[in-house]
Symmetry: C2
């Protein structure tokens, strides 16, 4: 999307400072005061919440290019805990930067809002998967979503990608157990939908999986036509 030089500079300013974190580290916790947002420079992370008895739900997987923490802007305290999957580099920036963008650049505001709303729509799709899909469908949906997401920032990706999450983490994301994730992955392989090698996953029957899960690539459907011209 075309942006003015001024807006480009405003965006660049969000990534001014950066910090790296090792694998498996918690960066902030649910209930913490809500100070910063983060841009992901590289590495995967995820946000999750636990029930008091330890049941865990991962609510969002963060990839390079994502903005972390947008939904929490509306609230005083963070609602989720942020944890790295692997070595990660993040650019923290204060909530108040949004204030400036809202005041100075309607066009950039619209862009950031659209990204947040697109994440909302994707979350609705995840909800549908959790509420109404079998384990096999849920895993297929997740793989398709990851593929679509990763294709945004990596144009030449075709059908193979790295999935650095453990099966327990995938289970916590899809509302299943690690054991059943294992069994269902094996079944997907046996039935020729995917291949796995180390942490690489290859999608063999993308169109069948799209049909199976009624998948929509929300990342490709965005509408920027209504944006204000600066």
């Amino acid at each position: 999307m075309p942006l003015s030089d001024l807006d480009k500079e405003r965006l660049a300013r969000l990534e001014k400072s950066e910090r790296t974190f090792p694998a498996g580290q918690e960066i902030y916790q649910g209930g913490d005061e809500n100070r910063n947002l983060y841009v992901v420079k590289h590495g995967w992370a995820f946000s999750y919440t636990d029930l008091p008895d330890g049941r865990r739900q991962i609510v969002k997987i963060h990839h390079p290019g994502d903005i972390i923490g947008f939904p929490d802007v509306a609230l005083k305290h963070a609602t989720t805990t942020l944890r790295t999957v692997e070595n990660v580099c993040l650019c923290p920036f204060p909530k108040s930067s949004l204030d400036e963008i809202l005041r100075k650049s309607p066009r950039l505001s619209a862009l950031l809002i659209s990204i947040a709303l697109r994440d909302h729509v994707v979350l609705i799709d995840v909800l549908r998967a959790m509420g109404r899909m079998s384990a096999q469908e849920r895993i297929s949906y997740m793989l398709l979503d990851l593929l679509a997401r990763l294709r945004i920032t990596n144009r030449r990706m075709t059908d193979t990608f790295r999935l650095p999450m453990t099966q327990s983490q995938i289970a916590d994301y899809l509302g299943l157990t690690n054991v059943y994730i294992s069994k269902t992955f094996l079944r997907l392989e046996r039935e020729g939908f995917i291949q796995r090698d180390q942490d690489q996953v290859r999608i063999l029957k993308e169109s069948e999986m799209i049909e199976l899960t009624d998948f929509h690539d929300r990342y490709a459907e965005m509408d920027t036509s209504w944006f204000p011209q600066d």
Copy 2:
């Protein structure tokens, strides 16, 4: 939240036109071009998506005061279908009204964004319920959420409210079946958590239910301190 007269007028303008719809009517469908947003004047409605084989997931229940369709603003086409639960009065307004608000009023922009983000956070809570809670916990969570939501616009509400949805609709919202909703409601009654009479529900053990579901009232936790002053 204090607003300038100008902003109040901008808000009022969104509710300029209104239309009523009978119970059980579809107002727009998933895939339709994305033209309007709606403010709910009175009555309940919900947004849902179907899988091709007919499985349905209700993704959001709309109450008086809600803005319908915000997440879809980012996309060209509506992702959900909107259906009334009962007689409903809606105020449609065009997507382009947002453009004007973004350009003219940073403060009102921040307010609308915050409402959208709060809905996002609530959806995360729903996702957690769907992924990791039993049927009994899910129903309890839903009732607490409805109560918290209805208390915003009706200050004197205590522990009783009207629940006009059928058990099949509740099932489609919670990712269960109508039969199991019936059985679980009966169990909640038998165990003294709730009472039902017609479409009225009374919450008898609110604090136990809050504990059971680790419920947070997101509507009460909003942070407006970072808003730009107009």
